[in-house]
């Protein structure tokens, strides 16, 4: 008990009372994700977009995990980005000059099989498969006249964390200018997420619904690195 109190007290002291030391090497960074389809910012439900091979679709949901952010040393932070909800994420990174920005789209294997998690990984977030354990790394839902599924649904739940069927992908982005992370200024990196690229070599009429790990999910995940690019640093 005493040990617990001491530990808690120390943690608080370490974060908020000790100037310098720990925090000096960290700076804050904000990543803002802007989601585009057909070069326009996506709108929920009401706009019809077209895949590269001309299939029309609307979007009702777009969420995905972003984790291990940083260049070099990955951080333990895990975020759930929601195109129609919180689309900016804020984190601490080691101070320094960054030429590139790298993150994992998805959740590390181990966290897929370590029991009940909290925070962004809370199964409440509806991103955990209940009958075939593991996280949905990327979820896109909507409708399309090209979909033969019930109610013309599109359900792209891309997940799978084991061996061959892994769907998390490391995304490494070149920065248009050097990014300085320090305590003085919190920069925002604006990242464009291009959904046209998600449909690269994919077709709604062939696979409107992907809700299990396997070849289809893996092929969809191979498009993840094509989708992201840095627009600007603010």
């Amino acid at each position: 008990m005493i040990k617990r109190i001491l530990l808690q007290a120390f943690a608080i002291v370490a974060i908020c009372a000790l100037p310098g030391k720990l925090t000096a090497q960290n700076g804050k960074l904000i990543l803002k994700f802007v989601h585009l389809a057909n070069e326009k910012k996506i709108i929920r439900n009401d706009s019809v977009y077209s895949t590269p091979n001309g299939e029309p679709y609307t979007i009702s949901k777009l969420r995905y995990y972003v984790s291990e952010i940083g260049s070099g040393k990955p951080s333990r932070n895990i975020f759930l980005v929601d195109a129609f909800g919180p689309d900016s994420i804020e984190m601490k990174l080691p101070a320094g000059h960054y030429q590139q920005l790298s993150f994992l789209l998805g959740v590390d294997s181990l966290l897929n099989c370590s029991g009940a998690q909290d925070g962004a990984l809370d199964p409440l977030k509806d991103m955990f498969w209940t009958w075939n354990s593991g996280y949905v790394m990327f979820k896109l839902e909507g409708k399309s006249d090209s979909s033969h599924a019930d109610l013309n649904r599109i359900e792209q739940h891309i997940g799978g964390y084991k061996g061959e069927n892994k769907t998390m992908r490391r995304i490494t982005l070149n920065l248009p200018e050097k990014l300085v992370i320090d305590q003085k200024k919190t920069h925002t990196v604006v990242i464009e997420v291009d959904l046209d690229k998600y449909w690269n070599k994919a077709s709604i009429s062939a696979n409107p619904v992907i809700v299990i790990p396997g070849t289809l999910a893996k092929r969809a995940a191979d498009n993840f690195p094509l989708m992201f690019r840095v627009k600007s640093i603010l």
């Binding site: 002291v13 099989c113 029991g115 199964p123 209940t130």
Partner: protein, 346 residues
Amino acid sequence: MTLVVALMAALLGAAKDDGFGPYKPTPLKLSIPKGWPKPNSDIFAKNKLTEEGFELGRKLFYDGNLSKDGATSCGSCHQQFAAFSTYDHDLSHGINNTFTDRNAPSLVNLAWMTSYHWDGGINHIEVQPLSPITAHNEMGETLENIIAKLNADSSYSRYFKAAFGDKAITSQRILKALAQFTGSLISSNSRYDQWKNGTLKFTPVEESGYALYKANCSSCHREPLFTDNSFHNNGLPLNRFGDAGRQRITGLSSDSLKFKVPSLRNVQYSVPYMHDGRFNDLDKVITHYTSGINYLQPTLDSILQKPIVFTERQKLELIYFLYTLTDTSFTKNKRFAPAQPITIKH
């Protein structure tokens, strides 16, 4: 610095005072029966097993509020007297007059398992409850609603505080507490165990049955847990639901019709048998192994390729041996029973 620490401690203490007294959980140790291997998954490494966590888990396990209709608790399908299977039902009843897709297995020695469900689709005991809770033909509920309902039930504050240090009700705590209860369901005191420990003698019939088991069944239903935690096709014809078992999870045709080997402990009480409850007594099970196996299935286990031949007497001997795996100190253990009577649908 000392002052700061003292102040912090005082503040933390004050913030946590909710009238239920200090947080002092009683640690429990998962006792590993003599001669058993270590549990496969160290399920309590990140979920400290305590008396208070177990008690909360037991309360949740028997609480119908975890389901949409308020009456379909875990315990309504997993009945203690049936070794936590659904007694005498091939399929169990979910909410709104639905049926489950599969037979409810007994819940026994889960801490030694490496995956859960007949197809092994569940990779950790803590996330298992998400499946029955959300399935429309089981409990049909959402975590949001459950948390709201438990928050509205004043009896829970005390339990969460005692188990986790404060009253907050989160999905993680619900799942961890349930795992403390289900992971503690250990059955290791059958006649067979007492015979192994040298405290009693088998009858000659039981001994012959044991020899038949050793020769024909033990490679998959391996001692002392009576499962090898693996997936095999034991030659059952495809059922009316087209349930391909393990293939549903791996997508591999080589896994077609493979199912997780169920433990045979308390098999006398976990009737009916197999993933769809197709056999309603042990005689039919053994007759399956002697004359029901579909030898044309490409994934049929190699061990079963050679036909098993039993005389009628041998069948009985084997059944008498299977009865020695019955552990009434488990099926009647008050620690595992509901604190109050619960609803069970028939």
